[in-house]
Subunit: 245 residues, 2 copies
Amino acid sequence: MIDETINSASFRPLYDQIKVLLTQSLIGGEWRPGEMIPSEIELAARFKVSQGTVRKAVDALATENILIRRQGKGTFVATHKAEGIKLRFLRLTSADGQKEVLENALLSCKRSKANSHFAKVLDLKVGAPLIEVKRLLSFSGIPLIYDHIILPATPFKGINANRVEENHGSMYAMYESQFGIRMIRAEESLKAVAAETEVAEALGLKIGFPLLSIKRVAYTYGDRPMEWRLGLCVTDNHHYMNELE
Amino acid sequence: MIDETINSASFRPLYDQIKVLLTQSLIGGEWRPGEMIPSEIELAARFKVSQGTVRKAVDALATENILIRRQGKGTFVATHKAEGIKLRFLRLTSADGQKEVLENALLSCKRSKANSHFAKVLDLKVGAPLIEVKRLLSFSGIPLIYDHIILPATPFKGINANRVEENHGSMYAMYESQFGIRMIRAEESLKAVAAETEVAEALGLKIGFPLLSIKRVAYTYGDRPMEWRLGLCVTDNHHYMNELE
DNA sequence: GAGTGGTCTAGACCACCAA
DNA sequence: TGGTGGTCTAGACCACTCA
């Protein structure tokens, strides 16, 4: 009789293994953002499983917003470039729900080195090179967010002030088109804080004005952290929307 | 030949119809919170569809946290009473990630009538009777949240200060056991605000101290709004966690 | 061992889209 | 009209729980 212990301990559904294979193809760049991946039937043949099993793997990636299904057309690699989903991670909306024009003003862009805290957060060694960006985001001409962004310099080799300034507010679309790095999820930690001198001046507020502090770590394929960000937001006419399920 | 136009216009997947039927049984109280629902095979026989179709409907309700599947045991109606998921909608955690003891101190509990704003938010008529509760939540002995809760009086008939005070912090477990009203989702809107007199006193802060304002509307089966809530939170040692996908 | 949910298959048919 | 994803079925077998 066959010893099933090992089999049982290492049991992993087929569709889960297929999901890993698909993710590897995405990491490897076999299918780039916006492109169509092979049909379910082709994938089933390639991996030698039934269409239903491929379907379940693709479904999982689709609910994670990594793939996008379009009936009658095909399945596509999600992208931040697409219209309509540009500011996917920006949850701040105006109190009256109006559409707003976003402007992006670069304050600074310089190199630095990772201390132990950022080394841990971004999964780097202490002393690894970093890029530090500070910018001001304005909604309809009024400055509302003071952003402090920290990136690992190696994967973003060649980034500079021009590239940051050129994009129209969405850093993630730029990461994707310029560096092939696609962010798939993020963790945020929110607090209320009092505005300090530098930030108060940039936003045109008095010192001590209450700001919504949004600390974020964004992850790319394979749950690798690729960006740390602190946004300080004026919320007298805006709010952060969230749905709990 | 049969005219398929009507069929096509009103097309709705079978599993979606099954999902509606299951939801109606939940609303009707056929299966109460914590109870086990019939097995997939039984449901398939009852609705005259295949097991796979029932499975898809149950899967959908399970991802919405309305049902809970337990392999080898059965499928159960989700409940706020269960250990471990008590404070499902409370996203506030301490900076160091420690477990904390929650205390609930009632400040006031009185009747009022809906103005146009609350009538709209809670889907009531202007002038409909309301219950207004104010309370203070303390974590490990330190007051951290000033809550203002508004409920429609009719479905919560008989609610009073005792019932609010008896529960141990989770209003939702109390709504469920005392009134059979189970909240399944909520929408939140976050801002940073300055503490005003009444709140500052209750929380032991100076006026103007930055607080995280969390406005929430909670919904029961069928997306019916059943609670409005405003929480004002001290966040110097705590933060609101959120995941973006 | 009986019962439950979980996986996997093979195949039929439907809805949607583009050429 | 052909290709894509979407639905539905029927049946086999696996993993988990509990008496």
